[in-house]
């Protein structure tokens, strides 16, 4: 046995009611390595992490830490922390109403005579933040920080606890490139200090940018462990999907040349804006086109569509749908005009966690119909079955609570929910975030299919490549303002980057 091993998991099995989440999975982490844990949604990555950190218990297998004697069983995340295992989750798990310093030291506050020593705590926090180059004040409330900074603070907290094993579960999904770069610098620094890092992500580039080793899971089973140089990207994807690589490049916006300029205008927003979130903008959206909204995190992409959909009531401007002026005060108004909106934050704004897949699918249509026209049980079941089949949603049954589905499948349920309302205009805000490649591909294909059938789509994504594949036109946003539109030959990675960064496309 190599003696630089910091963590081994052997033969781990875990069953949820009706699902074998993990079957005889092995995992080994060495000192000073960054080890990617890869797999599609539902492959068992999260479950493995949760078993390791004591969130879930497991039926068989053993965990050894630092080659120490005897198997360890972590009963709670606190146990795991004491063993030197720290986790930073995809969703930031900190207290938004406490200060940054309190979040960094919660549960282990420096004390003086039994009381919390605030001064030391704030001073130490400031030091940590400075070390890691995080530009926030130790005393401000966490909720005042951007999501990206919150994520960095979560990592800072984990790092400061002198962990032997650092687990990063999708830490980059809400970070922009600069912040990712900063995070990578930090990860490499920790690696050199001998920390073993488990890195869960869906971004392939990032895996190849920082990782030393990859463990691939599929359907709760171990596919294998590989050194990064032995596993080219295409192979990795093939291993994850268990089939030959369905090349993403195959999806191309075939009708890129199609001219939508003469198509009927579906949505015409004139000077729509909302103080503090999105400056007044004009936007014409034509039938059958996929229009992308591009910009950095916080540039107002989501805010723009939320204003159109009535999720945040705009305080200026007018809207026309099919040339007729409409007043949209709340989402139901927008729905009645044929709109549908898949929100960015699936967990907070999308799923209704305790309701079943069936109820989550039919809820929008039911809301649209009104309280006094309830759908019959049969109608609901047919609708649910139809979309479970159409979108290939992996669920034990249609009565399973949506919260027990994997992220990608939850997203498909939400998409099914909106397709069921038969919308004319579909807004998708980051539909592929935190979702595996297989599902990503499916969603992109679906968007193009829907547009082909005449549906109008607005697509928001942080991944420019994804936007290039799906969009026929793109609106660029910067600092809460729509700064331009790109079409046809202007649609290229370079063009978009330039427009986002500012410069020549400044035409408003």
């Amino acid at each position: 046995m190599e003696n630089n091993i910091v963590l081994t998991m052997r033969d781990i099995s875990k069953t949820f009611p009706g699902v074998k989440a993990l079957q005889h999975v092995d995992f080994t982490l060495r000192k000073g390595e960054i080890h990617a844990l890869m797999g599609e949604n539902g492959a068992g990555k999260s479950t493995l992490i949760k078993v390791l950190t004591g969130v879930h218990d497991f039926e068989s297998g053993e965990i050894r830490i630092d080659g120490g004697e005897g198997a360890v069983v972590n009963r709670s995340p606190q146990d795991a922390q004491n063993m030197g295992i720290s986790t930073v989750y995809q969703e930031v798990n900190l207290c938004p109403n406490l200060s940054v310093a309190e979040n960094l030291f919660i549960g282990r506050e420096p004390r003086k005579a039994g009381m919390i020593d605030w001064r030391t705590m704030n001073r130490k926090s400031a030091g940590i933040l400075k070390d890691l180059n995080i530009d926030v004040s130790a005393t401000q409330n966490l909720e005042e920080c951007s999501i990206a900074n919150q994520q960095m603070i979560a990592i800072a907290r984990a790092v400061d606890m002198r962990c032997k094993v650092l687990i990063l579960d999708e830490p980059t999904s809400s970070l922009d490139d600069d912040e990712v770069e900063k995070l990578f610098t930090l990860m490499k620094k920790l690696k050199n200090e001998g920390v073993g890092i488990i890195f869960v992500t869906h971004f392939l580039e990032q895996v190849y940018a920082v990782c030393d080793r990859i463990t691939v899971l599929r359907n709760g089973e171990l596919v294998g462990e590989y050194a990064i140089k032995d596993l080219p990207r295409v192979m990795l994807v093939a291993k994850m999907m268990g089939k030959d690589f369905d090349d993403l490049a195959d999806i191309k916006n075939m009708d890129g040349e199609k001219d939508y300029r003469n198509a009927e205008t579906v949505i015409d927003a004139k000077g729509i804006g909302r103080k503090g979130t999105i400056k007044p903008f004009n936007l014409k959206i034509r039938k059958g086109e996929v229009i992308g909204l591009s910009g950095l995190l916080g540039s107002g992409r989501s805010e723009l569509v939320r204003a159109i959909y009535g999720a945040d009531k705009p305080d200026s401007g007018t809207m026309e749908v099919h040339g007729k002026p409409v007043k949209i005060n709340s989402p139901i108004d927008a729905m009645k005009k044929g709109m549908a909106y898949l929100p960015e934050d699936r967990k907070r704004d999308g799923i209704i966690a305790d309701l079943s897949v069936r109820e989550n699918i039919i809820i929008a249509l039911q809301a649209k119909r009104g309280m006094f026209k309830p759908m019959s049980r049969k109608e609901m079941e047919e609708a649910a079955d139809k979309y479970i089949k159409l979108l290939q949603i992996k669920t034990a049954s249609r009565e399973t609570p949506i919260k027990s589905l994997s992220g990608g499948n939850q997203q498909k349920v939400i998409i099914g929910r909106w397709l069921l309302t038969n919308p004319e205009y579909l807004i998708l805000d980051e539909p592929t975030r935190g979702i595996d490649i297989g599902t990503k591909t499916e969603i992109q294909k679906l968007v193009l299919d829907l547009a082909d059938q005449g549906m109008t789509v607005t697509f928001i994504s942080s991944e420019i490549e994804e936007m290039l594949r799906t969009c026929s036109r793109m609106a660029i946003l910067r600092d809460g303002k729509k700064v331009g539109e790109l079409e046809g030959s202007e649609l290229s990675q370079d063009g978009i980057m330039k427009a986002i960064a500012g410069g020549e496309h400044e035409n408003e």
Partner: protein, 357 residues
Amino acid sequence: MRMNKSFDIKRITGMRLFMPIVCLLAVLLINVITTPGFFKISVNNGVLYGYIIDVINRASELVVLAVGMTLVTAASGGQDISVGAVMAVAAAICCQILSGGDVSTNAFQNPFVLAAIVSLLGAALCGAFNGFLVARLNIQPMVATLILFTAGRGIAQLITKGQITYVRVESYKLLGGYIGKCPIPTPIFAAVIVIGIIHFILKKTALGLYIESVGINATASRLVGLNSTMIKFLTYVICGFMAGIAGLIASSRIYSADANNIGLNLEMDAILAVALGGNVLGGGKFSLMGSVIGAYTIQALTTTLYAMNVSADQLPVYKAIVVVVIVTLQSPVFKKAVANLKIKRSTKKLAAEGGNQ
């Protein structure tokens, strides 16, 4: 065959109403042991008589309150603690109208229907006030309803001018007593009708799904087109209305409006009924029948304790003990432990079967 049987048992124990029913049966079992004549029903003076009838009769107000409380809990994730006081308000309005403003009356001064409608509207208005505070102003339910919890009895006193208003009219006693020669107490019918109507509404409209959806995730519910504020508000109005009905029944029993005692401490029993029914007090999915069973469980318990000669002031102690046991049985931790035990057993069984093959 054996597989079939175990499958059935699993299905039954997995049902949401399983634990509430077990609790009710357990309390009834204790009843039978301590009071052998518990289930004996006799006919005295042409009406049914016996412990069990008494339990079902006395539980009526609680059942009605529990129905309203269930909806409020599910939609807003909080409880309406003003229902007891609202009962007193409704009773005060009703008696005051019937007595024409006098302290005591021997004949209706105004039609009963008018008094009933006005008092129910008054109760619904109290509910609307609570609903406005909770749904529109986003005040925590406990805090919002604390206002009427404290002020409600004062309002009732104001209406009755600080007196206990008596309505000494035989027909006023119908709601809390017996109608004609019917041997079954009227409150039982009232409770059954209320359950029936609310059940019918939940079944025939999408209100039940809306309430659950809003209770689980109000933000997401709004984005799928539900008016979360309106739905929460509506549940409080319904809850106030239910408190009004309970108030009328309670008032009819004593043919008076006793602002200080009608519905006293009943809000806590109503909340308990919701909890005993297996409903999560944090909102979301709910079971109306669970709460109803919970309400009967509480009343059965109270009656048992009285039958065992426990004095009224010691009652809460014994009640608390039983409640601790029941709530523990239904707690997620306990349920999880049982589930784990089952999984372990089934994996063992699987392993054994695998070995046989």
